[in-house]
């Protein structure tokens, strides 16, 4: 599972023409630079977005850049924020993610996550909390911990993966069969 958690650093300012991310056109230009960068790192599954040097972004710019990347690679690669402290900016990233119905994680210095954009439904939020607390999670582990059936646990994780809350890959189960291992986007 090591490769599943291979993370890369994505310094957003390096892809922007100026400190402010303003407007859809500028957002698309930045997206055009981000895409080749992502493609040049096929082994990187989780990109930690650093905002150092980015003064502000508006909702349109946010929508065309990291939110669009998250949407495009949903289920395959993940993008998260690790130095997003400005509440004002968080509102704009959140609004853009919400519009795209895309979850987007922000991690603080203590390692606590905040989900921006699409929120998990009540039925799967327990499974998401379980997965966020560990590097990787399996349906059997969650079933054992929460008392739900393995099928139910598996369905919850699958839904979270499809909606972009988690990543997953195939692995060999203890039984010798195939199982999915889910990972948080951090």
């Amino acid at each position: 599972m090591n490769t599943m958690n291979e993370t890369g650093r994505l310094p957003l300012r390096d892809f922007m023409a100026e400190d402010d991310g303003w407007g859809r056109v500028a957002g698309r230009e930045t997206y055009g630079k981000l895409m080749p960068f992502i493609e040049r790192h096929p082994g990187t599954l989780i990109f930690r977005v650093w905002l150092k040097g980015v003064r502000r972004v508006d909702i349109s710019f946010a929508s065309e850049t990291i939110v669009e990347l998250s949407r495009r690679y949903r289920g395959m690669k993940g993008f998260c924020f690790v130095d997003l402290k400005d509440t004002d900016q968080q509102e704009n990233w959140n609004a853009a993610a919400e519009r795209s119905r895309q979850p987007l994680f922000k991690w603080d210095e203590q390692g606590s996550p905040t989900v921006m954009g699409l929120q998990p439904t009540q039925g799967v939020s327990d499974a998401l909390q379980f997965a966020l607390q560990r590097e990787v999670a399996r349906a059997a582990e969650f079933a054992g911990s929460s008392g739900v059936s393995i099928t139910n646990a598996s369905n919850k994780f699958k839904q979270l993966w499809e909606q972009g809350f988690l990543l997953r890959r195939e692995a060999v189960a203890e039984s010798g069969g195939t199982e999915y291992v889910y990972a948080r986007i951090r």
């Binding site: 303003w22 407007g23 056109v25 509440t87 509102e91 609004a95 795209s100």
Partner: protein, 304 residues
């Protein structure tokens, strides 16, 4: 019809006041008049939102080959002095006639940036994206409201509102005429007015054709209700994840209990904060108005 005359009121005049004057007279875009004379009487004080819309209207009439005359009855001693200060005449088409005369020099250049409560009208030239424009507008807010504890939130909200509104002008307005942005802090009126105006197609004019295929249940809504949907849900002619900009503006503005004034070619809607979002104030919302090309949006943010 040869010439028509429109008199502005003798009082503080905001977007609503300007609308009343336009409705009271002959409608200049809709007649085949050759000349439009605006009388600006002594005692008429144009607020920023009205000044910017008036500017757009004058330039539109000029581009439609009308002879346009603005008659300031108390010359530069009155509102013309203020308009000169905020750069109104720099943005006004040079072929528009000013009576008694066009101010000889631009006070905007002379006093630029010296009064933090006033921000000059900024030209939005669709062929040249001025990236420092937003910065100038927000610096002005932080200077004018520097003593407020929520100045950071206020500046951030105003930046987002300006960014989205001006980006909309670039994306949608489809006009050779410039758009304009301005803001002013009214310390006595305890409010901040943020206004962006363009002379292109109206917001709903670009949206309506797409509604039938993308949002058929909204296609039959009257303009006022459709505008509420634009600002509360986010709608775009392109569908998908687009259209979040104006909704984002409204979400930011409503936290400050801001009023939102939207003037489209023949409709004007005043949206006021209510429980659960913006709702139209029907007393100040009209349809069938005198034609004013474009989209003109003003936020009035109370500062108390």
């Amino acid at each position: 019809m040869e010439a028509i005359v429109i008199s502005l009121p003798v009082r503080w005049t905001d977007g609503s006041g300007l609308e009343q004057s336009l409705r009271a007279g002959v409608w200049p875009h809709e007649t085949n008049c050759s000349e439009v004379r605006f009388i600006v009487p002594a005692g008429c004080q144009l607020m920023t939102d009205a000044a910017v819309r008036f500017l757009s209207l004058c330039n539109q009439l000029d581009s439609a080959l009308r002879r346009v005359i603005i008659d300031f009855e108390d010359s530069e001693a009155g509102v013309a002095g203020y308009l000169n200060r905020i750069g109104f005449f720099d943005c006004l088409s040079p072929t528009i006639e000013i009576s008694p005369q066009r101010p000889p020099s631009s006070a905007k250049v002379k006093y630029k940036g010296q009064n933090p409560g006033v921000v000059e009208i900024e030209r939005i030239d669709r062929n040249r994206r001025d990236t420092s424009l937003l910065e100038r507008l927000t610096i002005a807010i932080s200077q004018a409201c520097g003593k407020r504890t929520d100045v950071k939130e206020l500046t951030g909200a105003a930046w987002t509102i300006f960014a989205e509104l001006i980006d909309n002008v670039f994306s949608h307005s489809q006009t050779p005429l410039d758009g304009f942005a301005a803001l002013q802090v009214y310390s006595r009126g305890n409010c901040l007015k943020v206004t962006v105006s363009d002379s292109g197609l109206g917001l709903l004019q670009t949206l309506r054709p797409a509604l039938r295929s993308q949002f058929p249940h909204l296609a039959t809504l009257p303009d006022a209700e459709l505008l509420v949907e634009v600002f509360s849900r986010g709608l775009s002619r392109h569908g998908g994840n687009r259209g979040c900009g104006l909704k984002g503006c409204a979400d930011r503005a409503i936290k400050f209990r801001a009023e939102l004034d939207v003037r489209l070619p023949q409709v004007r809607i005043l949206l006021v904060p209510g429980t659960g979002g913006y709702r139209p104030n029907t007393a100040y919302s009209y349809s069938g108005l005198p034609l004013l090309w474009g989209t003109h949006i003003s936020f009035t943010i109370p500062l108390d």
